[in-house]
């Protein structure tokens, strides 16, 4: 046993246990008495549940109790029957996840085909993607990214847990520019354009984005906290 406050630990346990959705640290700080050492408490709690049927897991900015995935086979719980995602939706989801922030046009570019209207809607409705801002380019297109709910659903602590991200990056495949424009950055090709100009694009784009109205972010956070 560590030396954390026993009462605080109980409060944290009760609060996290009571919540279906991951609870952001910020909310925990609000709920627990002043001076509670949240981080140490979480560590203690996590250790306690290490060998139990439920686990305390880290999701995005928050923490949540979830049943042990190893029990999946044996656990006869009514499963939520989620509509099987279409191929287009799965592809679109992975493009949003790996290339975010990404515009609709860029998704279409990567897939080499127009996006039917319902595809994004399904992902948006599932609470996996959200508008992140607007690209500072003509037409100010909305950019999309994934949500905390996405991390929660696929049991990821952060986007760094995206499978194969490192390999894809190393292979230069995380690049949302039209294919012909990517030529310049590839070592084995004669540069088609000034490489400096092109290489900067991804970073620029991060800077090059207007956030949607500031409340948006908060709304989403509070929605998820509910």
């Amino acid at each position: 046993m560590s030396n954390v406050d026993g009462h605080h630990l109980k409060l944290l346990e009760a609060f996290l246990f009571a919540s279906a959705e991951p609870v952001p640290l910020k909310v925990l700080e609000e709920r627990l008495p002043d001076g509670a050492e949240i981080e140490a408490l979480i560590e203690e709690l996590k250790n306690h549940y290490e060998e139990r049927g439920i686990k305390l897991i880290h999701v995005g900015k928050g923490w949540a109790f979830r049943t042990d995935p190893e029990l999946a086979q044996a656990l006869m719980v009514d499963r939520t029957v989620t509509r099987k995602l279409s191929r287009a939706a799965v592809e679109t989801l992975s493009i949003v996840a790996y290339h975010q922030p990404v515009t609709r046009a860029e998704i279409e570019e990567i897939r080499g085909v127009g996006l039917s209207k319902g595809t994004m809607d399904v992902l948006f409705e599932a609470g996996w993607i959200r508008p992140r801002g607007r690209r500072r380019t003509p037409g100010k297109p909305v950019t999309w990214g994934t949500t905390e709910g996405f991390l929660d659903h696929f049991a990821m602590e952060s986007l760094e847990d995206l499978p194969g991200m490192e390999d894809l990056k190393a292979a230069g495949l995380i690049d949302k520019r039209p294919a012909i424009q990517t030529l310049g950055t590839r070592a084995d090709m004669a540069p088609a354009a000034d490489p400096d100009e092109l290489e900067e694009v991804p970073e620029q784009e991060v800077m090059n984005e207007d956030p949607l109205d500031p409340d948006d972010g908060e709304d989403l956070a509070s929605l998820e906290a509910e």
């Binding site: 009571a18 989620t82 989801l93 897939r111 080499g112 590839r186």
Partner: protein
């Protein structure tokens, strides 16, 4: 890349082989594909070689053959697929006749490399999607608390009401409940009708130009009642003048206004007498 092109050139010369080879394995279900790149990717995968090693020229041929087969069996093909076919036909020509490249346009090799990149990128995303879906998923492999409990807030409400709000609400209410019938208060202002009557009575008695002020029923004090008197008298004078019974004159803006009996102009004593009798 160059090797690929060379191979492809050989393949091209052996046209029969290209048409026949993959033909039997082709899936003609257009609906199963997510666009032309997806078709190309499927065709490429059928070759079972690394995408970085693939012969783009051969792939282009296979795609063109696939499109031809689809069209031969009268299946509808979306424009996207035909555009890609045209592009691939163009790419083929660029690859086979390298001299055509100009400064502005990418060379055939560059176009092929771009296509290869696009294929690899989409393949990367498709694989990533598959790996994502293979992950343990909430509600399928692990579960959240199905019966969440809520801890509420100890809310202390502070109501924003000022004394002014309270009193004006009461004032408004009192006012509303008192005005059951709307009585329009009689006006104590001077009306133009009265002014016309007054002036008509006085008009015959003016020997020469006289200031309009002299016709006011009350002294001009600057309050709303005397101002209404001035306004209505002016309106009356204009009306009477319009009827030709009077003349008006003003030296300039804001100068005093003078009026004169129109009958005096013709010096008709009869008219004067008549008017006197009328009174």
């Amino acid at each position: 890349m160059t090797e690929d092109v060379n191979d492809s050139v050989d393949d091209f010369e052996d046209e029969e082989r290209v048409v026949a080879a993959p033909g039997t394995e082709l899936v003609l279900d257009v609906g199963g594909f997510e666009g032309p790149i997806d078709v190309l990717l499927t065709l490429a995968r059928d070759q079972k070689v690394d995408l970085t090693q693939i012969s783009i020229l051969e792939l282009a041929d296979q795609y063109l053959y696939w499109v031809a087969e689809i069209r031969r069996t009268n299946l509808e093909l979306a424009a996207d697929y035909l555009v890609m076919a045209a592009w691939l036909a163009y790419l083929k020509s660029r690859l086979l006749i390298p001299d055509m490249s100009t400064e502005e346009e990418p060379s055939g090799e560059e176009m092929a490399a771009a296509l290869q990149f696009q294929l690899r990128r989409l393949e990367g995303m498709q694989d990533a999607g598959a790996r994502l879906m293979a992950r343990q998923q909430l509600g399928k492999d692990f579960f959240k608390r199905a019966d969440p409990e809520k801890f509420g807030y100890n809310s202390t409400s502070i109501f924003e009401v000022t004394m002014f709000d309270l009193l004006s609400a009461y004032g408004e209410h009192t006012h509303r409940s008192n005005v059951k019938t709307l009585h329009i208060q009689g006006s104590d202002l001077f009306s133009p009708d009265d002014a016309v009557k007054r002036m008509m009575g006085m008009i015959g008695k003016i020997p020469d130009w006289a200031s309009l002020d002299q016709f006011l029923p009350i002294e001009l004090r600057g309050d709303i009642i005397s101002r209404s008197a001035l306004a209505s008298t002016l309106v009356a004078a204009l009306q009477i003048t319009k009827e030709g019974k009077m003349q008006m004159r003003q030296g300039g803006s804001f100068e005093p206004i003078f009026v004169k009996d129109a009958a005096r102009v013709v010096e008709s004593i009869d008219d004067i007498n008549e008017e006197k009798r009328d009174q």
